[in-house]
Symmetry: C2
């Protein structure tokens, strides 16, 4: 198994960061503008990337208010299905630290390398947006290669 | 063991990308402006981040012209010593694909999460610079948290 990991510090209250991870409005601000579904535990979230079918479907596995968000990918790229995503929040000095993992890839394929770099871009966009700047959700995301 | 992985596509000739990874001049354009040493196989490269002592010291383990660069970390943060870094280049459509790994961390510590996001920033800066934009080597790098 192989895991993607990232860490950013965000100058925003922990509850505010949590809100962007647990509401469709919040999620639409930094990953893709086109998201729907139920962000509560057991709910299904669908993320669209320009096609009629969702590019990724996540089951909300567990939530701990202001501290933890866990998703399991139940639809999307073959390599993603069955992977687990977590967002852990904690205070540190003057900021909220966000630890992200996209874990349990079956193999560290080239697409995983791509997704790692893309997640960095989206999380840095989330940080920028919560700090009063511009986020870069799809379709306004940074193109990092011919793969998008 | 745990690994950091990234992938970017760069609209520049493969040999030009390779040059930025295998000359102190090239390396100074995207990771840190303050680098010295011998970029040839068996050589030692020293990367400085504002302190008199190098923040990271790399042994150049193997080079395959225009295709592969391998370093072993022999000095720097405790968590880095003994880790292995690779840069693999290949053509793809209209670009040069760079696959990066910073492999063989003993544990997936929080600092590893931080370094993963930082590597994304540096590699995206490398891409920007080779495509005619602005790179962001230290000390002009993006600050992603209170850790730098």
């Amino acid at each position: 198994m192989a895991d993607i990991r990232h860490r950013v510090g965000i100058a925003a209250p922990q509850a505010r960061v949590y809100e962007t991870l647990t509401t469709t409005e919040g999620l639409s601000r930094w990953w893709t503008r086109d998201v729907d579904g139920d962000p509560n535990p057991g709910g299904i979230l669908r993320f669209f990337f320009g096609a009629p079918e969702p590019g990724a479907t996540m089951e909300v596995v567990d939530l701990t208010p202001s501290r933890h968000v866990g998703w399991r990918c139940v639809g999307g790229p073959d390599e993603w299905v069955g992977t687990n995503l977590t967002f852990d929040l904690k205070p540190s000095e003057e900021e909220t630290v966000l630890l992200f993992t996209h874990a349990d890839w079956r193999e560290p394929v080239e697409f995983m390398h791509h997704c790692s770099t893309k997640w960095a871009c989206f999380l840095l966009g989330l940080k920028a947006w919560l700090e009063g700047g511009e986020a870069t959700p799809y379709p306004g995301d940074m193109i990092i290669s011919g793969w998008g």
